[in-house]
Amino acid sequence: MDTFWNPRTETLGRRDLERLQAAKLRRTVAWAVARSPFHRRRLADAGVAPAEVRTVADITALPLLTREQWMAEQAEFPPYGRLPAIEPRQAVRVHTTSGTSGREPLRALDSRKDWAWAAEMWCYGLWGAGVRPGDTAYVAFGYGSFIGFWGLHYGLEKIGALVVPGGAQSTSNRVRQIIDFGATVVASTPTYALRLAEEARALGVDLPSSTVDKIVLSGEPAGSIPETKRLIEEQWGARAFDTAGMTEVSTIFMFECAHQPGGAHIIEDHLLEEVLDPRGDNPVGYGELGERVVTSFGRSAVPLLRYRTSDLVIREPGTRCGCGRTFDLYSGGVRGRVDEMKLVRGTNVYPRAVESIVRGYAEISEFQLRLSREGLRDEITLRVEVGDWRADDHRWPPLRLRLADELARAHEGLRFRVELCEPATLPRFELKARRLVDDRPEMVPAHV
């Protein structure tokens, strides 16, 4: 009983789970058509009447929604577009996307109930990771307009944990507060968990001997990259649990349970997730890489029907995990983004694959991947910082050779330049890291 936040649905058989999803889907589609001018027009254009959506399988009759369509709507009818099913005065909060992609941020309204729901989704994940009322949780997050860990904060309060909000702090102050408050849980992005560990070493703080025993990760796919996760766990002496969410949903859609089966459970009683071929609209099966498409039952203010997320995932049956949950898994978490793949001299390069190699070298403290064009030729350069090493360090040449060789072997022989940067010269990040810099004058379109 104590394993599950909501045992009634987390252990529901697949047939009943789909019946529950269908009941919510019917109500959500009816709600969207009745209240959102945007959805009403789109379904009418697609020739779909809400009454025709009866089962989970019927969802394929609904049109797919892209980020670009949402943004175009927002630009045409500022500030929120016509997606919302409520008047702005009925909302209690507005948040935006992080803006790390360089695009115009997306604005999303939430009602009072929406926030209770967003916190609830985090409770599924936090409870699944073993967070309990006796925990003291440090939230290493800026508490700004980016939705980030706001929902986690409220989820922790709902569970009854003691929350230490770590906003508006320097990294060194955050390390001190984690120690001073005796935090048992720390929430941050994977990148920032490593940054905190680096700062702790500089301060002479031995994190593995601290009270922290759980790191809750979100905001970047790296929380499910085994090499990155292992590094975080080693540097903190704690177990790391991946979660993933998005502003468009307002909260998390998957979480890694205490059994850690190499994947994260989808919160299927509140979300209906499909995995489609990124090149088209056809579904892919269990075990196949595809693009996540989400329909949310939780956010009343902004109905979300069949939203193409650009997240690349591999879905597997929940029975692969021994925890007892019937919710399916995304094996390996979010494996990248459809628009993230880069083509360099004919070879596909995924930042996640590069990170998984770099994180195999514990001595590398930060890195950046830079794409450039010299004449007609694309170049790819991995720039790394290795502690306090400088260019004349005798340990660098053999490390550089090993890295270059491993990168080439993982990328069909593609030759990477590997450069050592001076200490503390590469950018550090508190939220989503931006380690890929594409300086090529003409972007090569991504094809997956």
Binding site: N6, R8, T9, D16, R19, L20, A23, K24, R27, W31, R35, A85, I86, Q90, S111, R112, K113, W115, A116, W117, E120, K158, D269, H270, F297, S300, A301
Partner: protein, 75 residues
């Protein structure tokens, strides 16, 4: 509508009869909705009832008892 009627017994969204605890949770939810529909509530009363109803709505949704949006009550 999630409340039972004279002719239809209360069931959850899967058609399963409600347990006694389910019925009591649903009764709290229904009572909060009814209260918020009253005219003349003091701002403090209305605001706190709204604040109470939001998580109760999540509880009934989690249990699969009911699934409503409640925007008409500004929740």
């Amino acid at each position: 509508m999630c409340e039972p009627t004279a002719t239809e017994p209360a069931t959850d969204l899967l058609g399963t009869p409600l347990s006694e605890v389910d019925e009591r949770v649903l009764a709290v939810y229904s009572e909060l909705k009814k209260l918020l529909a009253e005219d003349g509530l003091a701002p403090s009363t209305a605001a706190n009832l709204r604040a109470a109803l939001a998580p109760v709505a999540i509880a009934v949704t989690d249990l699969g008892l009911c699934f409503e949006h409640l925007i008409e009550l500004d929740i």
